[in-house]
Each structure stands twice: as structure tokens, then as C-alpha cells.
Amino acid sequence: MEELTVPTVTAVNRWIMVHVATLLGVDSGTIDPAAPLSTYDLDSVDAIEMAMQFECAFGRAIHPEIFMDGDRSIDALAEQLADP
């Protein structure tokens, strides 16, 4: 099996911004990584989908509820996900 490298904070940050933008149908430039995740009003299905896509992209299973913690910013989330 291919060895997956630990993702960098920048890579995870970029991935989350693109994914949220795709879900919302907006340009990723309009996503503010410092804003609380609740700004983007994701629901539990969005969170499950993001967790599954994250696992595909980075080879690591994460709990979907991590994307439901609305107080956290994308920046803070990227820090956590890049540093298991």
C-alpha cells in the first residue's frame, strides 16, 4: 500500500476552503478561513461527506462531527487535522 505523507496545515486549510466553497456553490476566494465554521451553515450530511472526502484525500479517518463544531475556524481546524 502506498505510504501517505502527513498533510501540511496549508494543504488541509486549502482543501477545507475548496470543499466548503464547492458545497455552497461559491468561489473559494469568498471563504474566510478565520471565520467560525458556523458562518457556512453546514448540516450533518455536509459533515459526513466532508469526512469521507477527507479520508479519500489524506488517507486518515476523522469523525464527521469535527465539522459540526461551529465555533472553530477553518484555520484552527486545519491545524488540528494536520497534526494528529
Binding site: 455552497l24 457556512y40 451553515d41 448540516d43 455536509d46 461527506e49 479517518a61 459540526m68
Partner: protein, 356 residues
């Protein structure tokens, strides 16, 4: 209350315990949290079938100890969650495979203007509902007026992230109970309704029906509550609560058919053309990881064979209630819990994620 005492607040568990006892499967109640976003303790019926431990509460059926996130267990439909919880995603999935679904679109509430514009863009009548809702919450059907549409959209947006707007389809709402790989029970879900006697107005007819419901105490059949949605729905038929229906005339009071909104569950194996069981089973079998579900299908004429344009699959329930099948308002009981236990005893298809 001890671990063997039934609690009527969860009649689904009573049905399951009774079916288990009939098969010689011992069951008891435990208090435990599910975990994750549901940290509050709840009462579960627990039993062993096919060598595995299961927990059942209010329609939720989880297999103990198989959850990678440390929750109480793994839902028997876990791998189907993404498809069946998201009503619009389910419709796309089914439409791609040739099954009939109502046309529609989903909108996010942070783009409310787009949702409101749908009234002009889609032919009516329309149905508005939450994309992730359950038990008929915030569902409004047969919308023809802009004001009603806007009110329905804003109501969904107040409680849910996504608003589903779709064509409002008519017919009889049939709920099929599926246990992989087949349909095991069929019931007609008749919206809250009363039958006229030629002298009483609708208010008195509703009171009389609620009195009958209290006397019969059929589990899962809630009283009919008169609210704004009942008034609005009557208005779509040109009626008011003060009207006196003719003797024998049935007047529907709502467009939704959930037990929680006063609907009647009528056992219907002989009322629905047998071809529908095959269509519904094929639709369910197309969803990976779906093992137990109740499927709502609007059928124009249930006695006619299934064909495109005659039916619309509305949704598949991930944690279906069982009580209305065991305790119908009318007709014979259908032992869906027995069928579920049979599946658990022979073993259902393992979830892909659990195999790894």
C-alpha cells in the same frame, strides 16, 4: 422501573420485545447514551441475535460495539446514511437508476432569495420540506399561493440548513417496510381526516374522532391537532372548519401522512398491486448498506400495476417506526419486527467500513 418493564413512551421497543419473546430471544432494557452528538442517556432494548448484541430505541437499531468512534454501536444502515438522510441526494440516486421521484431542487437557507424565487420557476402545486427532516416536521404540501410558499420556506429555514422544494404529487401514500432484500409489509398512510355525517361541522367531527382515538388507544395514533396548517390545507380545498361535510364524505385535514400528525395507518397488503413490492425492493437494494427501512411512495392508483408516471418514491427512512404495522388503525397486524429479527439472526451484509 426495572430492566424488564416496558415503557409506553417507546411502543416500538415494546413491539420488538414482543416479537423477540415469540422467537425465544431474551431481551431487557438498559439506560445508556448513544454518544457523539447524542450524549444524553436513553432507554434501549437490548438482545442478542445471530451471535451479535443489538440495541433498539424508538426505531434506531444499532449493533453494539462496532462503532469506530466509541459510540454505543453501529447503526444497521450506517453505510446508507449519506444517501437516505439527504432527501435530495436520494432522489438523484433513484432517478439515475430509472425510479420515479418528484422533480425538485434543494436550496441553502443562506441563499433564501433563490429558494423564494423557486415559486415562479417551478410549476405548481408545490411541496416544501426540510432536506434532512423527519416525522413530517415543517412539511407543507399542495401549495398554490405565493404567501403560503414563502411562509413554508421561511419556516423550514428557521430550523434547517437546507430547503427542498419539489412538485406536490397526489395519490395514496403507501409505506412499504423493507428488510433486505425484500418488502415484508405494506400499509396505507391516510392523512388526518374525518368523515361527514351530514349534520356536524368539521370541528365537531375532529373532536369526535379524537374521542374515538382516546377510547381505542391504538398505539402510534396521535390526536388530530387543529393548527394553522390544518386551516391552510382546508382552504386549498375551498373549505373552512365551520363547514358541514355531506354524510359519508371524507375530508382530509393535512397533506402529510405521519402518525405524529394524526394520520391513520391501515394495513394494505391486499390494496396495493403486487408489482410495487418488486419496484420498492429494487430501489432499496440499489442503496449500498441499506438493511432495514420504511419507504414512502405516493401512488396514483394503488390497484394498478407499477409503471412510470403512476408512482413517486418520496423517501426512505433510516430508523423506521414499527408500531403502525403491529398496531394498525384498521386491518391485520404485520410482524415487521419478526422479519427484522430474522435478518439479524441470519446476518446482514457487513458494512464495507467494518470489514477493513
Amino acid at each position: 422501573m426495572d430492566s424488564l418493564t416496558d415503557d409506553t413512551s417507546d411502543y416500538h421497543a415494546i413491539c420488538m420485545r414482543t416479537a423477540a419473546a415469540a422467537k425465544g430471544i431474551g431481551a431487557r432494557y438498559v439506560i445508556a447514551p448513544y454518544g457523539g452528538r447524542f450524549p444524553e442517556p436513553r432507554r434501549w432494548l437490548t438482545f442478542t441475535a445471530g451471535g451479535r448484541r443489538y440495541y433498539f430505541s424508538a426505531g434506531w437499531l444499532v449493533e453494539g460495539g462496532r462503532d469506530p468512534w466509541g459510540r454505543l454501536g453501529r447503526h444497521v444502515n450506517e453505510d446508507a446514511t449519506l444517501v437516505v438522510r439527504d432527501k435530495n441526494r436520494l432522489k438523484l440516486h433513484l432517478a439515475e437508476r430509472g425510479f420515479c421521484v418528484p422533480s425538485g431542487r434543494v436550496f441553502r437557507r443562506n441563499d433564501l432569495a433563490a429558494a423564494l424565487r423557486a415559486f415562479d420557476a417551478m410549476p405548481g402545486p408545490l411541496c416544501v420540506k426540510p432536506n434532512l427532516g423527519t416525522q413530517g416536521d415543517c412539511v407543507v404540501t399542495s401549495i398554490r399561493k405565493r404567501a403560503d410558499f414563502e411562509a413554508a420556506v421561511r419556516r423550514v429555514a428557521a430550523g434547517y440548513q437546507k430547503i427542498l422544494v419539489e412538485e406536490s404529487v397526489g395519490g395514496s401514500l403507501i409505506r412499504f417496510f423493507y428488510v433486505r432484500p425484500a418488502v415484508v409489509a405494506v400499509k396505507l398512510s391516510r392523512p388526518a381526516s374525518v368523515v361527514g355525517d351530514g349534520s356536524a361541522d368539521l370541528i365537531r367531527l375532529i373532536e369526535a374522532k379524537n374521542l374515538r382515538r382516546r377510547r381505542r388507544s391504538v398505539p402510534g395514533h396521535e390526536p388530530i391537532v387543529v393548527d394553522d396548517e390544518v386551516r391552510r390545507f382546508l382552504e386549498t380545498q375551498g373549505r373552512r372548519l365551520e363547514d358541514v361535510p355531506a354524510a359519508g364524505e371524507r375530508v382530509c385535514l393535512r397533506g402529510t401522512s405521519n402518525g405524529a400528525t394524526g394520520a391513520d395507518s391501515i394495513a394494505a397488503p391486499g390494496l396495493v398491486h403486487p408489482s410495487y413490492a418488486g419496484v420498492v425492493a429494487a430501489a432499496c437494494n440499489s442503496v449500498p448498506g441499506l438493511n432495514v427501512s420504511a419507504i414512502d411512495v405516493m401512488i396514483r392508483d394503488p390497484g394498478e400495476p407499477a409503471a412510470p408516471g403512476r408512482y413517486w418514491i418520496l423517501e426512505m427512512n433510516r430508523s423506521p417506526g414499527v408500531t403502525p404495522y403491529h398496531h394498525p388503525w384498521k386491518g391485520e397486524a404485520q410482524n415487521v419486527c419478526g422479519a427484522v429479527l430474522d435478518l439479524l439472526e441470519r446476518g446482514y451484509e457487513p458494512a464495507a467500513a467494518a470489514e477493513a
